[in-house]
């Protein structure tokens, strides 16, 4: 994976995904290794994303790398009208790897073609966010022992949620049985369902969260945003139907884990947080190990 950019989850093969997850496991056991002391990581955040940026910066810093960059485009030369091409060409001179978040879809692919150093996509508009997908895969594999043959439920906004689309796509490699729970307005797009059908995998669609909980190994919750509804009344009707309470977990399988890409608003009530099935904060921690694995392998410090 040395010098290979990661723009889309499909840029890496199934074997490469597994290799990253294994490396991440090694970093979890021993997170403070100063193997990137001679390296500079640039984090270019053309739009703010505190969580993702801090996770990358934590990963880089724990490996001893120096981190440079900006946290939103108002503090960069973009404000002066500089093109993305020029920014990337210039910053390529200052660093060994670029981590980039940008509001326009395809910006990261373009940057990877222009840059003279590898680029890791930390989110390009509504398109891709591959490191989120990898940390989700890591969390599933770690809690269930394997990625194969699991029952996985996705709950909430399945229409616009790019983390959902990308993870579904990746899980199609592992004989997953999918359960999609959402209001009718926010159903999974048919293009994503086509991917599942092409792999001859099974999926179920439902509007009822409770009936799905007891069937699954992973409950992947997402936030339903009011802005997604053309009629505010439609939002009011469904907003409470996709909220997870602790009492709903009584009949869940013992190995069930609850995941959420965060930030959470009210779709998981705080009484769930102390349930051992709640995994979303550990999931965020796993993001650091996965990003350590990516930085180290793309920079060629580990194989």
């Amino acid at each position: 994976m040395k010098n290979k950019s990661l723009v889309s989850i499909n840029d890496f093969s199934r074997e490469e995904h597994i290799r990253i997850l294994e490396l991440a496991g090694a970093f979890e056991k021993n997170p403070k290794q100063r193997i990137l002391e001679d390296y500079v990581v640039a984090t270019l955040f053309f739009e703010p994303s505190t969580r993702t940026r801090l996770s990358f910066e934590s990963a880089a810093t724990r490996l001893g790398a120096k981190v440079i960059g900006f946290t939103d485009s108002s503090s960069s030369s973009v404000q002066k009208g500089e093109s993305l091409r020029d920014t990337i060409l210039t910053v390529s001179n200052y660093c060994d790897i670029i981590v980039m978040r940008h509001p326009k879809e395809g910006s990261s692919r373009f940057a990877s073609e222009v840059a003279t150093v590898p680029v890791i996509n930390a989110g390009d508009g509504a398109n891709q966010h591959p490191t989120q997908t990898l940390l989700d895969m890591y969390s599933i594999r770690k809690t269930q022992g394997s990625l194969d043959n699991l029952n996985i439920a996705f709950v909430g906004d399945l229409k616009y949620g790019r983390t959902v689309h990308s993870l579904v796509h990746a899980l199609c490699n592992y004989n997953t049985t999918f359960h999609f729970v959402s209001p009718l307005e926010l159903k999974l797009p048919s293009a994503v369902k086509m991917d599942i059908k092409e792999r001859n995998l099974v999926y179920h669609q439902s509007t009822d969260l409770l009936e799905v909980i007891e069937k699954v190994d992973i409950l992947y919750m997402t936030r339903i945003q009011k802005e997604r509804f053309s009629d505010p009344l439609d939002y009011e009707k469904v907003k409470n139907a996709y909220v997870l309470h602790n009492s709903m977990l009584d009949f869940a399988k013992p190995n069930l884990k609850i995941l959420h890409p965060l930030p959470r608003v009210n779709e998981i009530t705080t009484d769930v947080d102390n349930n051992p099935k709640a995994y979303y904060f550990t999931q965020a921690l796993n993001g650091v190990y996965v990003r350590q694995a990516l930085l180290a392998s793309i920079l060629g410090v580990v194989d």
Binding site: S8, S83, L84, R85, H102, P103, K104, E105, G106, S107, R109, F110, D124, G125, A126, N127, Q128, A191
Partner: protein
Amino acid sequence: MEKEDLRKELKVSAIENGTVIDHIPSKSVFQVIKILNLTEYQNQLLIATNLDSQKMGKKGIIKVSNKFFKSDEINKIALVAPTATLIIIKNFEVIEKKKVEVPDYAENIVKCFNPNCITNNEEIVTKFTVIDKKELKLRCHYCEKITARNNIAFR
């Protein structure tokens, strides 16, 4: 060729050697010229549009003297002129007739329909993979969204 068509076509004089691109939708004639880079062409170039056609109602025709296109070059026009037919002329004789085929790949011809795509916000050559030739569906190399027949636009 039907008699009426022949009479109409002869409104544009015949060429001795070269390529005739017939049955171009009238509205696409100038796009075809642009895609084939004919604006700077130094040889004889005959262009007619809004000609009556039995098949199409109105059509355009372009005759390019002393030019024989490679198929990947000429197939680019299939995106704007899927009905186009090619006639290869040598010594005023028709040597070959064929239809254009939708290419596998389109570079800098199509505009991505996604307003939030980086190609609509920076100076970037657009690149698309044609994923469905019949329904004409193109996947943007950058934003990965699908531009389809109903929302296709040209650069």
